[in-house]
Structures are given as structure tokens and as C-alpha cells.
Amino acid sequence: MKIKNLVSTALIIGVAAFAASSISCAFTASKWGLDAIDTMVTPVDPPLTCGAQIPDDTMTSKRTACTFAAGAHAAQTLDVSTSVSNQLPIRHIIILMKENRSFDHMLGKLHEQGQPGTEAVPPSFINTDSSGAAVAAHHATTTCIPFDPNHQSTAVIASVANGYMNGFVKNAAGSSVDPLGNPATTDGHYVMSEYESADLPFYYWLANTYALNDRHFAPLQSGTYASRNFFMLGTNAGVVDTGISFPDPGTNSIFRTLMTSGYTWGAYSDSEPFSGSLGWTSADPGVHSMQEFYKSLDDGTLPNVVFVDAEEEIEDEHPTADVQVGKAWTRNIYQHAIKSPQWPRMAIVFTYDEAGAFADHVPPPSSCLANAGDSPFTELGPRVPFIMISPWAKSHYVSHVAHDHTAITRFIETIFDLPALTSRDANSDALLDMFDFSCGRNMTPPEAPGSGTGGCKP
């Protein structure tokens, strides 16, 4: 009998160890089957041409009605034929996606400070705090806001408040954490703060110099993981909030559609690529260091599409990071880019993955369901800054076309004539109103101002 008890004990320990030790496997990098990217060669750029004419967009109403499905090309949804795509001079796209800042928070003073074409923050836009006091937009007193509000789905949905946009302060008051991630005591007023041109001279200069969109919304009312999934996969891919849940590696992606058409991509980061949303590490195919990025940029050997992610909560501007440190990182990339041999073929998309529960006054519109059966995230999230930096970007231009991150996806698909991943990107515009491909454009960029030196100064 004693031996039988030993038997059962051994078996139970065996099964427990068998299952428990497997847990570590779940956190390793997913197997996305993208190994071929490390041996692919970026196709030689065709001769630089100019004068491509973008046809008038006659498909807006059809896209608004979510007419188009996965697989649709720009020729079907935007009247941009393959021959027009081939004439477009852009062949290298850099995506600089920062973290967790709303449009009003970063560029809320742009209307008064250089770009009257953007919508001003209305004086009537207020949130009430938990004591009932009205909180209006106000100047931020530091570039190192010491709080981070909850910015996952329940918090953002409560902040948007069915389009009243009046739940931000209360959400921040009830959910903020300090730089160590501990619950913080705050009245939440800080989410109504705005930076001005003097605080962020380089960002205000970018917004005034290149093409800006003041109707670019986060793709859903949630956090980093789901927001970034929309950009790479055209869907949140089953991920609702940021945490430890990753998309199925079998999900179709912009990586695949680029590769199957013979184009290359690269993810560059000294931290987690895509802010950890795919669970990738530096060991995954297609992932490279920032040192390699700068070298490729300087040498003119960048892949066709480049994803650059800053060090988390230091350079990526995710609260509680110093925005000036992140701005310096962005400026450094810009300075390398304009000197790159690939600058004449380049477009840099500068944006933020989501608003991070910082206040914005524009109610988000709805969009298309990505796939039948997906979580019904058709309501977009609050606005984020969006600037198209390119020698072909219209100068000092403001686009008011409403879209989300899948417009970046659609832009890539249009440039390289790729099929849409889901209904979401199939029915998006492709940012083309932000460009002027006519001949005679000045390829030499103007001098950029300094970026500030950090140190938590306004």
C-alpha cells in the first residue's frame, strides 16, 4: 500500500511538473514563419520620376459604407491603378509610432501657433473632476508628467463617454499610476494639459512644415497592443487590451503581403519592437538594432518598409517619460533621414499608437468591422498627432480626412500595390491627399529647430 501511495505521488508530481514547466514556453517569441525576410534582397528602386497624377477620389461613399473586403487593391477602392502606383516616387516608408499622447495634448496650440488650418480646442471643452469643478485645457507645466492614466478599453470607453469626451479627468483621477507603477493620488487635471510651440519646438515645426492630419484617430478605444495590431494586421486579432495576449502568428499581416510581392521590411528597436505587441524580441526574423537602422539610413540601404520603435518609457514618450527626450530621439532620426541617399524616395509617418487616455475634444467616428466575427471594435479612439514627413509631402498642409492607423496600412498597400488585409484597411483612405508628386519640388528640407534637452522642463 505504501508503494502505491508512492506511485500516485510520483505520478501527480510528474503531471504537475509536466504542465507547470510548460508555462515558460508560452512567453517565448511566437513563430510567425517570416524567416525568409532575413535573406530577401530589397528590390532596386526604379528611376526617380515625378508628375504622377492621383485620380480624384470617387470611392469615398463606398468606403464609408464598408463595401470593400480583404484582398481589394487600391485600384478597386481608391481608383489608383497599378500603373499609377508604379509612378509614385516613394519606395521607402518609415513608420515612427510613438506612445500614448493625444492630438490636443501635443499639438493643441497649433491653431494659434502657426497652423490656423487645424481645429482649435474650443474654450467650451471642459471635463469635470470628481469634485464637480470644470477643468479646461491648460498649459502643461512639465514635459515629465509624473502620472500614467489607465488607457485600456474600459478606461478609454469611459473617457470618450459616448462622444461627450468628458470622462478623461475622472478616469485619470481614479486610475493613475506613478513612474514605478504604483497607484498615484492625483486630481486627474493633467490629462487636459497641452504643450505649446515653445515646449516642443521641433514637433510644432514638423507640423507646420510638412503635411499634418488633424482627423487621425486611434483604431479603437483601447491600449497599445490592440491599436498596433490594427496597423500591422488590419484587425485587433483577438487582442482587446494590452497585457500578455498576442495575435495568432497565422494571422495575415503586412509583413506577409510585402514579402509575397517581393518587397522587404525591417523592424528596428533597442527595446521591444512594436512596443511588445507581437511578443517579438531582437532574435526574431526581420528585427534589427537602432545602430543598424542608422547605418542603413546613412548608407541608403533601408528595406522598403521600416518600423522604428523607441526605448520604452524613455524615448517612446509613454508617460511618465520626458517628452523632450523622445523628441530628441525623433529629431535625430529626422536629421539622418534628410541626409540619406534614400530621402528622395522616402516617406516618414510620424504618429502615436493611441492617446493614452489624455484628453481630446473631437468625438471619434465609427469605422468598418475588420473581419466577420471579430470583436465589434468599430468605434475609433481619440485623435493622435499625425505628420507625413517627405520631400513629396505637401508643405504646411492640413488634411481633415478622418482615418485611423489602417490608413498607414493602406498607404503601404497602395505604394506597393498589395491586397488589403481586412475590411478595415480595404475601406480606408491611403493618405494620398497629403502628397504632391508634381515635378519641380524642392528636395532640400529646411533647417529644423533644436529639440530641447530634456530635464523635465516646459
Partner: protein
Amino acid sequence: MTVLSHLALATFALAFGLNSARAEPPTLVPAATAVTAPAVAQKCPSPPAGGSAEYRSVTCGIAIGGGFAVGKFGLAIPAQAVYQTTGLQSYDGRKFLLQWDASAGAVGGYAGNEHPGFFFVGGKLNLSSELGYRTMPTSNWSPYLGSGLNLNGVATAVVGQPLGTLNQHNNLDGLAGVYGVAATRFSFGGSYLDPKHSLLLTAFVQEALRAPGSVASGNAYTEVGVHAQLDVTKNLNIMLEALYGKTGQMTDPAFGATNQGSHFEAVASVRKMFGKWWVSLDGKISEDGNKTTYDASPLVFTTATPLVPSISLSVGVPIQ
């Protein structure tokens, strides 16, 4: 730790158990004088038994337990309270062998796949049964042919959320959300029966309908596997199973691609009766894969999810 080391560990545990069992050789009792099952088991509702020569090992009762699971859905800490009956019983002079594991009840728990996580509650139903034919019923060892059915479903709601918004939360691939598997299988192998012990070793082929998971769409899989069920004694039962299967080739006209899904899982279960109650420990690992071939490209994308492990420990109280 690699998969192989997991398997080695489990194999070691199994081997240790078998060796220990051998240290106390089972008493071979003539079939006609076979010891009947414990009184507790006799009161379990089960198919009518044959004569006293038949093998019968049945448990039933309320099982309460909890566990821990990790997967592409995130983390979950599930708990359950179910009525469960399991059994292995022979008929017609040990010519036929029926095995079953059925349970129904409530499940609940906490899912950590969102920030913050959420509590869920709901119900589950499991019905697994197989009827086999022993070609040499008078012999302890016999070739075995069987056919089985497996139905497994769970439906849960998120506490505090309207039912209409449930799909705003991640599906938990069988631990929560709405999920189900239906499978029919054909088995062949060998069966050992003596009055106190049973060992069933089979290979099987099955067709399984797996409901949509956290991302993957629902599909039919053709699967092959191996199954071992050992009653070291009637109070100590061990089950090990591993299977691997693939879907058919599925065309995706939007992308000019062909997809083929794959599924692997291995389960291990140990149940020990202690007088009037039992302890059951169940472990499982699974992995889903996909192979996509594009007509217009030489590239093939072969993907796999991380291994999804889960473990649960439950305590059962027999119904007297």
C-alpha cells in the same frame, strides 16, 4: 525546458509508477471470483453491469477544483464545480469494453488576458465515451477495436458585462468564452484486463470539429493519436493521450493563397481515490499551427502558436 524533456519527465513518472506497481504484483483472481468494485462505485449511475466476471471501475460525484492556464489568450485561473462520472466496464464476458468520462456543471474564474483582468462564470459539458470490442475475451490480453465520441463545450459570461458585449472580450479557447469540440474516433490496439487492473493501449484516428478559437476560425481536423489508460488499481487511474491533426487545404481567394491548419495536444490525467473522495490532477499542452502557400510567390509561411499549457487539480466527493 523542451517538449522532449516534458515528455521524458512524464514518462519517468509513468515508468516509476509502473515499476512500483510491479513491486507489488497484482493478485490474479479467476474471473468467476472477481472482486467487485467498492461500495461507493456500485451506487454510481452507470450502464447495467454484466455478470460478476466483468471488470468494473466506476466513480462519480461532485468534483470541485481549480487550476492555472496560459495561452495565446493570456492567463486564466479557472475553477469548476461539476458532477462527474468516469468509468470502465466490460460486458458479455469481457467481450465489450465501455469507457466514459462525463461531467456537467459550473465554471468560473479570473482571466488575466486584459488589463485589468475580469471574472467569468458559466457552464461546461463534457461527454467522452468509447465502446470497444475485445477479440479474445477469455484472455487477459486481447486485441481491441473501438469507436468513440467526444463532445466538449463551455459557455461563460463576463461578470458585470451585458451578454451582448461578450465578444468584446478575448475568447479563452475552451477555458472561457464560448468554445466546443466534437470528435468521433476509431481506435485499435490492445486491452489487458484482470479483476483488479486494466490497461488499454490504442492508436486512433478521429475527425474533430473545433470551434473558433481566440483567432482561428472553426475547422474540421483529421487527427491521429495514441491513448493509454491504466488502472494501476481501481483506486488509481492514469490516462495519457497525444494527438496531431490537420485541416484540409482551404483556399483563400482574396489573397490567392491556400491555408492548412494543424493541431497538436497532449493530455495527462491522474486520479487517486482516497476512501470516499478522490483527487484528480490534469495537465494539457496544445499548439496550433498554420501553413499558408501563396500561388504567386515561392514563399511558404509555416506558423505555430506558443505551446499552451494548463493544469488543474480537483477534489471529488462521491455520491453515496
